[in-house]
Structures are given as structure tokens and as C-alpha cells.
Symmetry: C2
Subunit: 198 residues, 2 copies
Amino acid sequence: MSDADLATLLAFFKAMSNESRLRMVGLMAERERSVQELAELLDLKEPTVSHHLASLKALGLVSARAEGVTRWHALRLEALTTLNRSMLDQKGVEKLTREVSATSWEDKVLEGFVDAGGRLTTMPASRRKRWIVLKWLTENFEEGRRYREHEVNEIIQRRHPDCATLRRELIGYGMMARDAGVYWRCPEDQWRTTPERA
Amino acid sequence: MSDADLATLLAFFKAMSNESRLRMVGLMAERERSVQELAELLDLKEPTVSHHLASLKALGLVSARAEGVTRWHALRLEALTTLNRSMLDQKGVEKLTREVSATSWEDKVLEGFVDAGGRLTTMPASRRKRWIVLKWLTENFEEGRRYREHEVNEIIQRRHPDCATLRRELIGYGMMARDAGVYWRCPEDQWRTTPERA
DNA sequence: CCAATAGTTCGACGCCCATCTAATTAGACG
DNA sequence: CGTCTAATTAGATGGGCGTCGAACTATTGG
């Protein structure tokens, strides 16, 4: 019903984001108007008004009635309120989100640094993004199991050749721990949280 | 209270009329976001996001919270709904009108053809506009009083030299009538209505 | 005090769109 | 059918703004 998708809502806002069109809407809300009349009141030429009316009509915001050679244009108030209502409540605004963040922030970051074969191409310079990549790397280790160094290297190398650096980073972020040459995956609540995300 | 004037409303619509900004609003409605995060999710560079956030903040639609070197931006839902509500009801839309049509259509037309001294400069080509001008001319005659032709000419000439043509038009539109060289002003309900305005 | 990271500011570039003029279509009317 | 008026279409132009890279600022941590 009142589910305006992003594209529709965007089109609506674009329509109302022009002073001439917004004023036209105001004038047509009062009563129906001819092109001449609108042009005069807005200090525009007829073609310009005609142009704007066309776009408003395309959105169903305006209806026209012909009378002789004149056309009377009126605002379709229902359309206006319907469209507008979708922004009003929390749910309406959040609906925009769903379309946008179907892929989450973390997935999006991974897309950027992991190729189709599941191999790490480059390491992010950003701390937060590095944290996300390392978290993804950690999924290759089982919690509770102990690994010898060459096992760790092997697993990491399936993702990226420079296992030494990555191993060090994993430890640094508290995702893995080491004692006497033996490594294990730490429970998530012991990881260093990403810098400024409590 | 919720009286958004045209300028405010226009600024709001301009803000929401850009896809990037609209999506940002959606994302920030869900939870607070960092610039990095928004840039990644929207496939934009940080400067661009920063730029958009600045304009949204200028409208009071977004609030920011600093945490270390990061800034978390959140949507101010109240501001959004307040602004948006003003379009919802009939009255809100019509309020736009008042600012726009302080001078009515007819006054506006007259402005265009009558100079400061109250003299008619040119005659409108448009039929509807000519009707308006003639209506204005008719105000110089009292209803119920009878005029001889030279009186009519005199009165008209105070407005425009070509009294013959104008006299003829006044008759044509039914605003004045004549019988045996005597003229009088007709009551308004006998005027020919403007062509396509029932 | 230096390095590293997050964000902002600045200047430039390119595209979209609001507007105009000129030309065209479409009713109305004699 | 030809004229007149209202409106639309087409084509051209100019300005605004969304975007980016580069340089700068600010905060944190060794």
C-alpha cells in the first residue's frame, strides 16, 4: 500500500525540490489552473510551465481537464499524501535501509579485499577494515582446537601468501593466542574490539 | 509550530532529492554510522559523504557524536517528521500558496499592461488577459448611470488613446451596452464569462 | 614528537536540468 | 478551410551541484 520504494520516493522528492514546481503545487492545491495563469504568477514562460506539468503528471501528482483549447490542471491531493506518508513513521524511513544495506557494511568491505577465489588481494590500510578482514580470516580456525605453527601458516596461505604478517596481526587483535609454539583461536569476547566501536 | 515556509520546505526537499543523501538517511535511521561506513556502503569517497553530511547537518536532520578520531552520525527523526508533516494536510500545502499568490492572477496580469500612471500600455493578445483588462476598465463606470458617447470616450482615454477599439470590446464582452447613442454599464452577471472559464 | 588513522576543506571537472526561443499541434469559430 | 488562441515539442544554453583527488586538520598512541 503505502510502501514507496526508494526510486519512487526519490522521484517524488526530486519533483518537489524545484522552487517553480513547489509553488505550482501550492497554486494548484488551491484551485485548478491554466498554463497561462501559472506562467504569469511564477514569472515563467509557458513552455517551462508545460515542461514542469509534464513531469508532475508523470508522477501522478497532477490531473488535467481539457476545456476548449485550455487545460485546467489540478493537484491530486491523495497522491501527494500517500507518497508523503511513507516518510512519516520510523518504519517508512527504515524501509529505505533494507534496499540499501542488503549487503552489510562488513560484507561490503570483504568484497573489496577478497577475490572470487576466496583469496585476500590486499590488506586494508584502515584499522576498522583490517579488523573485519582478520575476523573473516579467523573463521578458518576452530575454537578449542590447537594448531602448530606450520598448520597456521598453511591455513593462512590459502588466503594470502604473507602468513607471517597476518599471523602477527591475528595475535595483535586477540583473535588468536600462542604459547610455546602452539596456537589456538580465542573466544570472540576476548578479541580487541574494533578501535572506536565499544 | 509546524509552519514550514516555502524556503524551509524547499531546502528539505532539495536535501532528500539526491539518491546518495536519501540512502544515507535510510542508513542513519537504522543506527549511527561513520563516514567510512557510509562511503563504503554507498560506493562513494569519504569527501563526498562528508560533503553530504554537512548539508544534512545544516538542516538539523543529522546529529554527530565524536568518539576518538571517529564521528558517529545519526538521523534526528524528530526533525524529519516535523518537516514532513507540514505537507500532509490540506492546510500545509495551501500555505505555500499564500506566499506565492499574494498578488492574484488578475492583479499580476494588470501589472503587466498598466503603467504607474494608470494608463494602458498595450492590449494583451491573449483573450483571457484581455478580459481582465476590460474588467478593470469597466470599473471606471458607475452602474445605473447613463453616459453619452463622448463621455465614454473621455473616460476611456484617461486609460488609453484608442477609445474606439476599447469601446467596441467592452460592448463585445457584454460589460457595457448601448442603445440609441446612450451607454451604460451592465451588471456583472450579464458579462460574457471569460471564454473557457464557466 | 612522530606515525598512523579518520575526517574535512579546497579546487576542479562534468553532467544534469531549468529555462528560453522558435516552431508545431490542436481546438474553436466564423 | 483559414484564422486565432492555448498549449506542447524541439533544440540550445547556462548554472548549479555531485563527485573526486590532493592537501590539510585533528586525535590517538607509542
